[in-house]
């Protein structure tokens, strides 16, 4: 039957349509695929498909020696490499009951917090792009580039550092490290302020993000959200404060909390976290002690005692956990990672239901997933 003006009925029964989004969609932040059931412009249901970037990292870890596994952890959350390395080396150190020198702990914290800033800057850039703002991404990438240049001068690589070692660091930082970090921090603070001015309270940006995908505190806890996504819903939970690890208990910093739990809160909370991370780095630079950072164990073949250990830490995306099971050989028996962005992704269905198609991009963007970590 051909469609004519007679057989088009107004107020007809709603017809659900299946709409595929990804894995090549530029706003899915990698290779993530969503199958959306839509009724007109409204999303009825969503089925996420993951695994396009699956490399079997956890299985690969079982075939590598303990110091080689660090390279695999670099490649899980490839935006926050230092944070990932940190939680793994802490897991092995806890298993071996190893003491780490204060200087290496301070340098680790400095680099982790700088990595958090870089990661959040990338988030601000992509959040702007998802909402249609091109310019802030340029500002943020400029700031991120400065931090990555610093990382290159410290570890020799811009992203896949392989710099943390079990029991210390690969080598000491360059002589002008402190001065370099202070210089970079000043510039990064300016960059963040600029993009903050440009984007945060822009009327169009507010209209796109305010009251979108509101998560109540109960829902956020039930879905197992962690990190900025949880704190945006008003839950004061940060692993750095709740269970201080490394030397985080020696710094004075605040944990920003959101009020509404909408997409704009998730965005603005990360902007605030950049300022807090800058505070931590400044304090750590002031307190940075002298001493040895390298450990002779790094060159030896490690054989931790048989046993199991679970260690968690605060990544830019949330709480990362590493479960490590050792059978006493030179290779881990099993490594299980609790990746923050994979767990945060579980709330996607709740967030996307009954929202508009046009909002799906900003909702996914505000979750800030990294597919290397989701698929592992």
């Amino acid at each position: 039957m051909t469609q004519t003006s007679e057989n088009i009925v107004p107020n007809a029964e709603p017809v659900e349509m299946l709409l595929n989004m990804g894995p090549q969609h530029p706003s899915t932040h990698g290779v993530f695929r969503m199958v959306l059931w839509v009724d007109g412009e409204k999303i009825v249901d969503v089925v996420p498909h993951i695994g396009y970037l699956h490399r079997g990292s956890e299985k690969l870890c079982e075939g590598e020696q303990y110091n080689q596994v660090i390279t695999l952890f670099d490649r899980m959350d490839y935006i926050a490499n230092f944070n990932n390395e940190h939680v793994y080396v802490r897991a092995v150190e806890k298993l071996m009951g190893m003491e780490v020198s204060e200087r290496s702990e301070y340098i680790r914290v400095i680099l982790c917090e700088l990595n958090r800033i870089a990661s959040h800057m990338l988030f601000i850039a992509t959040m702007g792009l998802d909402a249609g703002a091109m310019t802030p991404s340029m500002f943020c990438f400029r700031g991120r580039e400065r931090i990555q240049g610093l990382f290159e001068s410290v570890s020799g690589a811009r992203m896949m550092h392989n710099y943390f070692r079990i029991g210390g660091l690969k080598e000491d930082v360059p002589d002008d490290f402190v001065a370099q970090v202070r210089e970079v921090l000043e510039l990064v603070k300016k960059d963040t302020e600029e993009s903050d001015k440009l984007l945060s309270f822009n009327e169009i940006f507010l209209a796109r993000l305010k009251n979108i995908a509101v998560m109540s505190a109960e829902d956020a806890i039930d879905y197992g959200l962690t990190g900025p996504c949880l704190r945006a819903s008003g839950v004061d939970y940060d692993v750095r404060k709740a269970a201080p690890y490394s030397v985080y208990d020696r710094f004075d910093f605040d944990v920003p909390i959101g009020l509404d739990g909408d997409c704009w809160d998730r965005y603005y909370l990360r902007v605030q976290e950049v300022y807090q991370s800058i505070r931590i780095v400044e304090q750590a630079l002031d307190q940075l002690p002298d001493g040895e950072v390298t450990s002779s164990l790094g060159r030896r073949l490690l054989r931790p005692p048989a046993g199991e250990v679970y260690v968690r830490g605060e990544n830019p995306r949330g709480e990362i956990g590493v479960y490590l099971n050792s059978d006493g050989s030179d290779k881990p028996y099993r490594i299980k990672v609790r990746p923050p962005s994979f767990c945060n992704l579980s709330a996607l269905r709740q967030m996307l239901k009954d929202s508009w198609i046009a909002d799906s991009v900003v909702i996914l963007g505000a979750l800030d997933i990294v597919l290397g970590e989701v698929d592992r």
């Binding site: 001068s153 392989n162 360059p174 060159r299």
Partner: protein, 188 residues
């Protein structure tokens, strides 16, 4: 409305600054839009490019004895090597009893982690500053011993490379102190 105008001001200021001193560079040339210079991409001192083998100028042979420590330490198994008896040792010109016969690195597999350099006991392998190495050959990224030594020699020359085991350690706030390493005594 006010916030949008504030954003426009930020963009305008940044544009004026960008005209004076651009942040980006024109790859592969350096310089800005007005003046282009032919320079290699700047890298930091510690930059880890592709691995290469070093050349011992004093004896005239590679440092590498093909002991396979780097091959066992490599997370991706990207290297192979073969050992042979050192002819210079029989003539008592070299202290190395064994020497590398052939060495191959598959750069497509290499992940630039630097573990090979860290575990090497003979200062034989370095992370060079080479990184723009794309080829159009099918196996163009498999480097053999002469190619590796060539890259390594270029790196040694460019950076005035001193073998890590011969470097003097400078403790903070103190005078230079000779580092105590076993390789100090056995170096040729």
């Amino acid at each position: 409305m006010f916030n949008s105008l504030k954003g426009l001001v930020v963009t305008l200021v940044s544009t004026m600054n960008g005209l004076r001193a651009p942040v980006t560079r024109q790859y592969p040339d350096s310089g800005n839009l007005l003046g282009k210079r032919d320079e290699p991409t700047p890298v930091k001192d510690r930059f880890m490019g592709f691995p290469a083998l070093t050349w011992d100028d004093e004896v005239g042979e590679p440092f590498c004895t093909s002991c396979m420590v780097c091959i066992r330490g490599c997370p991706t198994q990207c290297m192979t090597s073969v050992m042979k008896d050192n002819p210079l040792h029989e003539q008592e010109k070299s202290s190395r009893r064994k020497i590398v016969d052939s060495f191959e690195i598959n750069l497509n597999r290499c992940i630039l982690c630097g573990i090979c350099v860290e575990v090497c006991n003979f200062d034989a392998i370095v992370m060079s500053h080479e990184h723009e190495m794309s080829t159009s050959n099918r196996n163009g990224d498999r480097l053999d011993l002469p190619a590796l030594l060539e890259i390594g020699f270029k790196f040694q020359k460019d950076t005035d490379w001193i073998p890590p085991t011969k470097r003097v350690k400078v403790p903070k706030g103190g005078a230079a102190e000779e580092s105590k390493t076993p390789a100090e005594a056995e170096s040729p």
